[in-house]
């Protein structure tokens, strides 16, 4: 009998009060599970690759089957081949690149402006309690207003041209980016700031040599997340009224029931998004090498 088993003869040292307890039931050990179904377990390179291929191949296969079986009319769901042909056609005529460039330009201006405004404000909010008290109430309200609801107002104020589109992008991303940057900056450990003062750093030096470098990888991460939002907003802005851009191309194709073109543009939008993400990820890894 194990020394811990209840019911064993009480010795001088064991405390009374456990006499009536039966033995604690033991559950059988669970069998071994595959790493694929084990929480946080690393999986083999092979399984990772297979799953990644499947995640793209299965929807593609479903698409092919749906079209080939004729369940969905090709006017609604064009075949992959038709989409590719439409894409090549738009590329050859040059309209694809003109549209792409128009869209990219708007993102560069609108989101660039949002980053230029939100990063400094976010740093001020995360560094000074006064900055937080000043900006946070307003920004917390504004970020809940859907940017697309501003479109009519922006058109009234700025007309149908570029400014209203850039303003929509700006409104859609600036508030979130500010709050995310301020969170990152607030994450700089207090002891790191304190020790910098004891090494002789003044306020401005603490900001420049401690707070900003410590926050940089997190700021790039915030920009990466919000770049996806910017990419969404620009297409929404172009759906409303424009003469070029990927969003415009979608609306125009709709008028002529060119679903193959719509699909081709959607694929281009997705690929560009992935490209932006990869570039910002590389930048993040470069500035954040020290985070390991």
């Amino acid at each position: 009998m194990s020394p811990l088993a209840v019911g064993a003869a009480a010795t001088d040292t064991t405390r009374s009060g456990r006499e009536g307890w039966g033995p604690l039931p033991r559950r059988p050990r669970p069998g071994r599970t595959s790493p694929l179904l084990t929480i946080r377990a690393p999986i083999s390179r092979r399984s990772r690759l297979t799953l990644a291929v499947l995640s793209l191949a299965l929807p593609f296969l479903a698409w092919v089957v749906l079209v080939a079986s004729g369940v969905v009319p090709s006017r609604f769901l064009p075949s992959p081949g038709a989409v590719l042909a439409a894409g090549i056609g738009m590329a050859e005529s040059g309209e694809l690149f003109a549209d792409l460039w128009a869209t990219v330009q708007r993102v560069l201006f609108g989101f660039g402006l949002a980053v230029a405004v939100s990063v400094p404000i976010g740093i001020v909010m995360g560094t000074f309690r006064a900055g937080q008290a000043l900006f946070e109430p307003l920004i917390s309200v504004l970020r809940y207003l859907p940017a697309s609801a501003f479109i009519p107002l922006l058109v009234i104020w700025m007309g149908l041209g570029e400014p209203s589109k850039i303003a929509l992008l700006f409104i859609g991303t600036v508030f979130f980016n500010t709050l995310m940057v301020s969170d990152v900056v607030r994450g700089v450990p207090r002891p790191l700031i304190d020790v910098s003062y004891t090494l002789g750093a003044r306020r401005g030096e603490v900001l420049r040599k401690v707070i900003v470098p410590h926050s940089l990888p997190g700021i790039v991460d915030a920009v990466r997340v919000n770049a996806a939002a910017a990419w969404n907003f620009v297409v929404v802005a172009e759906l409303v009224n424009s003469t070029e851009g990927l969003g415009y191309r979608i609306v125009r194709s709709q008028r002529f029931l060119q679903t193959d073109k719509i699909f081709a543009v959607l694929i281009v939008i997705g690929l560009c998004g992935v490209l932006i993400d990869v570039v910002l990820r590389l930048l993040r890894n470069k500035v954040g090498r020290w985070t390991g």
Partner: protein, 263 residues
């Protein structure tokens, strides 16, 4: 006197209640002295150090360094906290250079000073490593070298080896003792480890709890030239035991009060 605390008290407000961390602390640290402050948790010893560092302001009393009142943090009081205060994006040598980069000295001068302090703390071969690549003990070496490079009037050590394993801790104790003798700097160290305090200090001050007051001030009558073997010497053991008795009595009184007072 290098450093002088007279009648220093500190209260913290937490909601409606006010907690008294330190009360009427008088302390004098002579130039070149190695003073260790020991006390159980709740004795306000870390508060004491952050007041001397200028990171917090005493509620009453005065702290002076070379006769001038301490009003804020500065490089004349270099601080080594318990852990995790290196700049993670800077290499070892650039961590050590941080304080020097803020001063109008030539790059050659700065490099020479960094080299000396890296060699003094045994870090020369790790100079290009990032903090995350170092062990806990090596990280604390960098923190010590970084504070020393600013040539502080007083080096403040806030339980700097509290997070280290016993063997590393002893290496670090030998290192700090050697650094103290090599640089002649004044050291004020806070620790809960009485053995460490007796091994390192020329004097040991015991803080009482609730609120922190000076309960005992004991001169360590051991030879200046100490190695780890001295920790087994009867004189060392006797001194350690008598100080531990004081700390334990304080801790018991603190626990009893906490239970009775329902804090």
């Amino acid at each position: 006197m290098k450093l002088e605390l007279s009648g220093v008290g500190k209260s913290f407000r937490t909601g409606a209640a006010s907690v008294r961390a330190l009360d009427g602390v008088d302390l004098r640290v002579a130039s070149g002295e190695f003073l260790c402050v020991v006390g159980a948790s709740g004795s306000g010893k870390s508060t004491l150090l952050s007041l001397v560092a200028g990171l917090d302001v005493p509620t009453e009393g005065r702290i002076t360094l070379d006769g001038a009142e301490v009003t804020g943090p500065g490089p004349d009081r270099g601080l080594v906290p318990q852990a995790g205060t290196l700049y993670p994006w800077r290499t070892v040598e650039r961590n050590v250079a941080f304080g020097l980069e803020l001063l109008p000295i030539t790059p050659e001068d700065r490099a020479a000073r960094v080299d000396w302090h890296l060699a003094e703390t045994g870090l020369t071969e790790f100079r290009h490593a990032l903090p995350r690549q170092l062990s806990g003990g090596q990280q604390q070496r960098v923190a010590i070298a970084r504070a020393l490079a600013c040539e502080p009037e007083v080096l403040l050590l806030d339980e700097p080896f509290g997070a280290l394993d016993v063997q590393t801790k002893e290496d670090m104790q030998v290192l700090v003792r050697q650094v103290w003798r090599d640089t002649g700097t004044t050291v004020l160290m806070v620790t809960h480890d009485v053995e460490e305090a007796v091994f390192l200090g020329g004097r040991v001050v015991v803080l009482a709890c609730d609120p922190g007051r000076v309960a005992a001030d004991i001169t360590v009558a051991l030879p200046e030239d100490r190695d780890l073997d001295i920790k087994r010497h009867p004189d060392f053991l006797a001194l350690r035991a008598s100080i531990e008795d004081i700390v334990r009595a304080q801790h018991r009184a603190h626990t009893a009060r906490a239970t009775a007072g329902g804090r």
